[in-house]
Symmetry: C4
Subunit: 363 residues, 4 copies
């Protein structure tokens, strides 16, 4: 909490003035296969583009003559304070971007005072991550395995390793049709972190996913999972209001409005277009609603909060920052985003997150 | 019926990841005249482009946590089961694309377990097609001739040759103004298949059409034709709800919402924009409503079904596949489309076609 | 009246398949100053572009199974039959395009059986035009002069020379801000036709207009003019419904919905966007409503008639045709447009102009 | 007051036919840093572009047959007559553009008979400006300083120097995120005019702003300021209707609907999109509502007045004109804009500003 810091933007990654610019720099450092994996979307990539474009279409209506000499970006997320309403979305195989992989991103998030979500398919195991960043607000993302024993084991290990929230991904019963990946060949999966014990030699990441995911996982299964879980469950991948209500009914404590970064079904709505109806559908239930997809600017964070999100999760931009400069790159990207958010709040006349009300945004 | 097959997309025509990409490959193999004939539209070709663009404008709202471990694309079309809700639309003079012409496309459709519609102006005669693919679900497309005796003869021959459905085209009383064809010169009609007996030496395809079509054919004529036909009648070329209702009143069993692939009147709506009102206009009458025009993706097939189509008919993409690799090319294109459709259904949370309900699509 | 003629489009100006293509050919034959004068619009030329674009935005919903073996494009315009619902809009100084100037265009219109409107600022005088095309349906366009005696003299001469209708232009109290003309220098006015007697040596066309027009001409003046005129009065340049009603109240018999081809005020609506409200505002009064601006296709003519126009007036395209090939060029352009209109009507299921009803068009 | 002068447009800055063209010419004369400072906007510069685009989207519906032989652009602004409804918006550090800086622009405005607003951060002091243009209608723009004593001193000096109106900017509690400026380095502030006494050596303009502005300034402070001010207060930077009403309640006499030329928060609405609701919110209170942002054409001025503005303020275009040709350049730019406005009014059928009614504009 404090005044908007005017010098912050200029020293992030020397010359990078927008998270949207990171992709170009990262592209120079990533292999073609890794770049396709990180940056690509499904089918014609229309949702990939829409996630960003839909934020830009919205108009902001700032209030004036509010005391914004101090702005406060702090928020409680499922009971723990974050320094700003931003987390790191789960992303598989961060070793494709940097040798320190999830160790670097988790540490950067911890330094920034925000949560990070570790993927089931991380390069580094959850226990290694826990050891490297014990005080971090670590969440664990779960893909449900065909073998429910393996699933139960993953959840138990996550709880034992101090992960605080269980993020269950529900929009990947099968893999989306990702043309860039298919065109460039499959992504190697040399280390499989938490699942290393189950890894088949020479299996690609695509093989691993296809062999892992249980496409029959349904609402009843979710209810059992939530009931059995020692950790609060957040469901990731909701776009519909009926699904949102059902998610809450089955015991989830949070929802991430997500289209998997445009990597699953194409032509689904931008997440910012789906957010508000979902948030309104569960209003009054105590469910926390988050969003990922298309967040590039502090303007986007403020927009999502004004439309009902409690926080947003950042995706590709932090992977690019990781590729460019490891933990330090991610830290700088987060500092930049925080600077933009603070400046946006000041200019919106919203010194605190609760001031980001619905009247500030129109489509 | 079965699980989504993950390897399917990558082996169709080696490197072709979308039916939309087939045109470029086909263009290398077709003469300029044939390419203009197959790919061109009418006037400014705005409807040609709109057919594709209107599908892309729609947004899909997937359900999650549905058991999609098996998806089933089977459908009954006028009483016979098809393996998926896709057929081959009628297209004249397929000999322009490949020496095996309609023999290849009919066989490929039969292998795929879907119907194909033979044009009145096919290169190969209906009897030859019947002999080459006796077990295929063959439909016959009828252009009504000035001489009603010739028309009656065509219908009788189609029934005798085992064609199962009569598709009567009603949107070509005169030929559309097709600039590409005019600019490049007329298309030769060296073989006229079912109409070979009537062929004038040196007549172009344009001459044949102009000499054949009865521009006075009207609703009363349709009613007589339907009453006399030994085959169930499907009317192709409907865009208006009033025409749709009248079509049913005059005895048709099915309707193809079509703008003739953008080859007739320009600036008419994209077929996906016309579909839903037409489907609602005849709901409860037992009429089956189909669509052609702009189908390039499994996403498109699912969209059309959610908006009221029982099946769609594929046009240019299969002609390009035919030009590229004959029967095998068409088979691969159909396998690719099936793969996309299965994946789309799984990701929509729709394991069966009946699950493709109206709530999945917005404009 | 007769069947749609299939060969017509291909022989108009050898290779020109759309009136929109004429500008390029004409540009090679016109001086830069003349081209700027003919083709340019006002300010940013947004209305110039919109006139064409707004037609293209509309969607046509054809009827099927209507007997269109014969289509009839004839229409009565203020009591005289035209062979199709198209006329030639007034255009000043056609000598810039061709030495035969208005003689050529009037003769071409007469051959085509349609009216042409002679500008006050024609290159050739009204008496010369009358002598060259005595049987033509000639209308005279009037700019009201500061000196009402000159105005009265022009009207009397027009009536004496057999002009049948008086078209009073009301949207040029001052000249629009035409950047292309200003950038390239003023247009010479070497011959001033009907006004030759009043011509100042070395006066440019811009000088002539500025010196001629009475910017104080108002509704009361119009009422007097209409009352005194031996010819029925058509008012050209109406876009608003209130102005349309007033025009009728003051004695006009017709209205041309026009924005002066985008040459006067910029950002005014496309004429096809203004047409329907104007037509509805005067429905039942016997007033004939016409449109000019943006007509390039038979599709446009049919659209305008479906939205309430009795006929349209063609502008720049005939001037380009005049520049390319004189009277013969204009005749060919008109034949081409007639062919497109007939084909459009057949494909719309509208054998006569009265069949072009409101249900055929949506925006 | 008088007839539209036809020759005016052609002699402004020789070949410049639109104020939008001035940027290119100015770019050749300005340093990269100065150009970035003058022309840049905040974040993605979407509001910068929208300010102009939103004017162009509007449609004008001209009246005809109104006597426009004389048009009158005069208007009273807070009790003093201006020759047209246009003023010069405040802009800091005009010495970046021309050595005569605010002396030149104030004199040009005075010659044109319109008000100009001097920035708190002018290059030349308010006393020097007053001495150079004693008869000019000079307004003073106030940024509120942390030290309220300095603020009070500035207001007292402005009143003493004959400034007539106090324009309080409220949309800059912190500086917008201006990427162009950051990319090119800070802008030097070699002379600080009215604040020269407080200048730190080597401080950049960005430092000066950041050190000056009181981000805690709020509604109560405004109320006190307005009550204490010897000059009528106009509040600049309002976009919301609730803020507009509050502004009036706290004692302001005028409102400038402004987004600071797209230099503060990005994605805020174009000012012409925000104008009408603001104007309606304070209708009947006697408050004068102005607009700045995106004004490039006489069409824009007329549009803003039809939607409720009493006058508009010009920004970047006059700075470019200043850079190109000093006082003479600004004078020519204003003459050009006046010519466009007069012509627009004549063509709209609006001889006086009161005739610019709401019916002339649609979106």
């Amino acid at each position: 909490m404090g005044p908007v810091t005017d010098q912050a933007p200029s020293d992030v990654l020397e010359g990078v003035l927008s998270l949207a610019d990171l992709e170009v720099l990262a592209a120079e450092r990533l292999s073609a296969v890794a770049l396709a994996y990180v940056s690509g979307g499904a089918w014609d990539e229309s949702t990939l583009a829409e996630n960003v474009a839909a934020f830009r279409r919205r108009r902001l209506w700032p209030r004036v003559l509010v005391d914004v000499s101090r702005v406060d970006t702090r928020v409680r997320l499922l009971g723990r304070e974050a320094s700003m309403p931003v987390g790191l979305a789960p992303a598989a195989q961060q070793g494709l971007c940097h040798t320190e992989a999830e160790l670097a991103t988790t540490r950067a998030a911890a330094s920034a005072g925000i949560p990070s979500v570790l993927s089931t398919f991380s390069t580094v195991s959850m226990e290694e991550v826990a050891a490297a960043a014990p005080g971090a607000d670590r969440w664990f993302q779960l893909y449900v395995h065909h073998d429910r024993g393996i699933t139960a084991d993953l959840v138990a290990r996550a709880a034992a390793a101090g992960f605080r929230v269980l993020v269950v991904t529900v929009d990947l019963p099968v893999i989306g049709y990702r043309q860039r990946e298919i065109a460039l060949g499959s992504t190697p999966a040399e280390r499989l972190g938490s699942l290393e014990a189950y890894r088949q030699p020479d299996a690609t990441l695509q093989d691993v996913l296809a062999g892992h995911i249980d496409a029959s996982f349904d609402w009843a299964d979710l209810e059992r999972l939530a009931a059995d879980s020692p950790l609060p469950v957040v469901v990731k991948g909701i776009l519909r209001t009926d699904d949102a209500r059902r998610t809450v009914d089955r015991g989830a404590r949070g929802i991430i409005v997500s289209n998997h970064g445009g990597r699953q079904l194409d032509r689904v709505p931008a997440t910012i277009d789906a957010l508000e109806p979902v948030a309104q559908a569960v209003v009054g239930t105590g469910t926390e609603v988050y969003l990922d997809g298309g967040v590039r600017r502090g303007l986007d964070v403020a927009t999502a909060l004004a439309l009902g999100a409690r926080a947003v999760f950042l995706g590709r931009p932090y992977l690019y920052a990781l590729a460019i400069d490891g933990e330090r790159g991610v830290a700088r990207a987060l500092a930049h985003l925080r600077g933009e958010l603070e400046r946006t709040m000041a200019l919106l006349g919203a010194p605190g997150l609760a001031d980001l009300d619905r009247s500030l945004v129109t489509e």
